[in-house]
Amino acid sequence: MESNESPLDELVVFFKALADGNRLKIVGLLAQRSLSTEQLAVILDLKPATVSHHLSKLAEAGLVQTHTESHYKVYELQADALHAMAKRLLAEETLPDAASDVDVDAYDRKVVADFSKRDGRLKEIPAQRKKREAVLRHILEEFRVGKRYSEKQVNDIIGRFHEDTATLRRELVGYGWLKREAGVYWREE
C-alpha cells in the first residue's frame, strides 16, 4: 500500500478490497497455500480474467503478493499485512485519523452565527442543550488557559456576550470548563 495515501484513502482501499464474496474466498484459499490465477479460476469456477481483476484489487490493498514459478504467476497471502492492517485500521486510536480533515467546529460556528447579532452579542441564550454548549464553548475561548480571573472579571468578559452573566458563568463552571476556588476562576486545559 502506498505510504503517501491519506489514512482515509487507505481505509477505503482496504475495505473495498474485502467487500466482495469472491475476494474473501480468494483470501481464504490463499491462506491455505499460494495459488496461480489458473488454479483459482478452476477452484472458484470463475473466468481467469475475473480472478485477475480480484487479485489486482487485493494486491492494491497490499493483501497479496505475486512471484513467478515456472512460467506461472503465483499469488500468496500477505498474512502479516492482513493482521497488521486489521489491527491498525480497526484500532480505536486510528479511527479519529479518518476524520483528520473534517471540521469538527463547524457545528459550533453555525450555532454561534445563528444566535449572534451583528455586534457579536447573543440574541438569546439557546434553550437546547447542544446549542447552549456550542455558545458556551465560544465564550470560553475568551479565557486564556492558566490565567486567573476574579468573579468581576469573569462577568465583564461574559457581559460582552449577554447580560445574564450569572447563568452563563454557572454553566461554564457546571461543565467544569471554568474552575473555581475561593472566588478565583481559571480555565484548565
Binding site: L18, R33, S36, A41, V42, E69, L82, E92, A106
Partner: protein, 189 residues
C-alpha cells in the same frame, strides 16, 4: 461451525458499509465523541438526508447506535462490533484446516487446491473415492444441463483437466452424472 455462507455474507456487508469515505469520516468523528444528527450535518457539510442514510447503514451494521443524552438524540460509536469483526477477520484466516472441521464446500475446495497444478489442470487423479468425486463434480460443472455431446466433444472438455480422458469420462458415466446413449452424452438434472 456456523454456516460459512452466512458468515461470509455478513463480512461482505460489514466491509461494504465501511468502504465509503463519508461513513468513515462519521466513524472518525464519533470515535472522539457522540454527536447529534444536526451536529454531524454541520461537521461533515452534508445534506441531512445523506447523513441520515449513512447513519442508518452504520446502525444496521452494528457500528453505531443511537442514544439519548440530556434530552438529545445522539449517535455513538459501538466499538464492540468493530472489535468483534476484526477478530472474526483474523480468525477466518487462522481457522484450522483439519478436514473433519471443514464444511462440504470447504472440503471440495481443499481437494481442488491439493490436486491442481499451477496450470489449473489436475496433477493426478485422486485415488480416494470421496476426493475423486470432488474432482468429477468440478469437471461435470463444465457440461451445461440439456446439451448433447459426442464422445469427441466430451474428451475435449475433460482434457482441459487431465490427459486420461477415458478414465474420467467413464467415472462420470459410472456415477450416472453423464448419461450415454448411442454414442451421445448429456447431463441430466
Amino acid at each position: 461451525m456456523e454456516s460459512n455462507e452466512n458468515a461470509q455474507a455478513e463480512l461482505v456487508t460489514f466491509f461494504k458499509t465501511l468502504c465509503d469515505e463519508n461513513r468513515l469520516k462519521i466513524i472518525g468523528v464519533l470515535a472522539q465523541q457522540a454527536h447529534s444528527m444536526e451536529e454531524l450535518v454541520s461537521i461533515l457539510d452534508l445534506k441531512p438526508v445523506l447523513v441520515s442514510h449513512h447513519l442508518s447503514k452504520l446502525t444496521e451494521a452494528g457500528l453505531v447506535r443511537a442514544c439519548t443524552q440530556s434530552g438529545c438524540r445522539v449517535y455513538e460509536l459501538h466499538t464492540d462490533a468493530l472489535h468483534a469483526m476484526s477478530k472474526r477477520l483474523l480468525a477466518e484466516e487462522a481457522r484450522p484446516n483439519a478436514v473433519a472441521e471443514l464444511t462440504e464446500d470447504a472440503f471440495d475446495r481443499k481437494v481442488m487446491v491439493d490436486f491442481l497444478g499451477r496450470d489449473g489442470r489436475l496433477k493426478a487423479i485422486p485415488a480416494q473415492q470421496r476426493k475423486y468425486n470432488v474432482v468429477l463434480r468440478r469437471i461435470l460443472a463444465e457440461f451445461p444441463v440439456g446439451e448433447r455431446y459426442s464422445e469427441k466433444q466430451v474428451n475435449a472438455i475433460v482434457k482441459r483437466f487431465h490427459d486420461d480422458t477415458a478414465t474420467l469420462r467413464r467415472g462420470l458415466v459410472d456415477l450416472g452424472w453423464l448419461k450415454r446413449e448411442a454414442g451421445i452424452y448429456w447431463r441430466e438434472e
